[in-house]
């Protein structure tokens, strides 16, 4: 399998999974609907940790830790913009210090 065909195959699989969920599979109801509605928060929280520690995992740099700490601090306000501003501001300040 050439690299081009491999990339195209991965693209087809990826798009097929998106279309299946959005237009082919039946719309979830009842227990399944409640389950998929609970899924994004733990998924995003887990992905946040995953990208922070990296693959393979390693101790994050101080500015990245500062950014996440600031983001978590304002997270209870449930404002996406505020979380981003706080995180990036902390990153900028921490980068100057370290």
């Amino acid at each position: 399998m050439t690299p081009v065909i491999l990339v195209v195959a991965v693209a087809v699989m990826t798009y097929a999974s998106r279309v299946s969920a959005m237009a082919v599979l039946p719309e979830p109801t009842g227990v399944m609907l409640r389950y998929v509605q609970r899924l994004p928060v733990p998924l995003f929280a887990g992905l946040g940790v995953f990208v922070l520690v990296g693959d393979p995992p390693a101790m994050p740099a101080n500015p990245a830790l500062a950014a996440v700490a600031a983001a978590l601090l304002v997270a209870p306000r449930r404002s996406f913009a505020l979380v981003l501003v706080a995180g990036l501001s902390a990153y900028a300040v921490a980068s100057l210090i370290w």
Binding site: M1, P3, V4, L6, V7, V8, V10, A11, M13, T14, Y15, S17, R18, V19, S20, A21, M22, A23, L25, E27, P28, V31, M32, L33, R34, Y35, V36, R38, L39, P40, V41, P42, L43, F44, A45, G46, L47, G48, V49, F50, V51, V53, G54, D55, P57, A61, P63, A64, A67, V68, A71, L72, A75, R78, F80, L84, G87, L88, Y91, S95
Partner: protein, 204 residues
Amino acid sequence: MSIAGAIGVFGVVYGATARPVLGVPLTILASMIVFSGTVQFAMLALLTAGAGPAAVLGTAAMLNLRNLALGAAIRPRLPIAPVRRVLLSWFLIDETVGLTLAGDAADASPVLARAGAASYVGWVAGTILGVAGVEVVAFEGLAAAVFPVLFVGLAAIMARSSDLVVRGMVAAVAVLVIMTLWPALGALTPITVAALVALPRGQS
């Protein structure tokens, strides 16, 4: 737009990292037709490690399983014709799902379309900058901070109840522990953990 900027930063890192492995045309083509940072970085890591097509396709299939759940979660918010859903499914990525579900509009398709288009442009443009040789060291540091912050923001706006807050915290701790003890699980870790943590509790 803030999401597109963050995705663009990661795109730069992807472009610079993928260029020696895939070459310039294929690196850009991958971003244009796959449009999934998780899948593309996993594919890159496997190819760099010398893995074969079966391993790449198997990993991509596993990672794409989360699209089934995310698509199912977003679908009730898209009361539109199936053809439009097929078209919009191109934009089904973690970040756009978060923004789409966070709003209160009965029809969230405009949010998905705008966030998806901006994210797509950011991802492809970032990839092109990365393969063009933009100094990637500065972007690596920024990307290491931007994406965790991005996911904190997405989790925050979607955590509408204390139950979801607890589930999010449990998932974060579980991913940290599993990544530390069994790092070989890689990108499957957050997906598997989320699937388990989202299960109904005993009393519900």
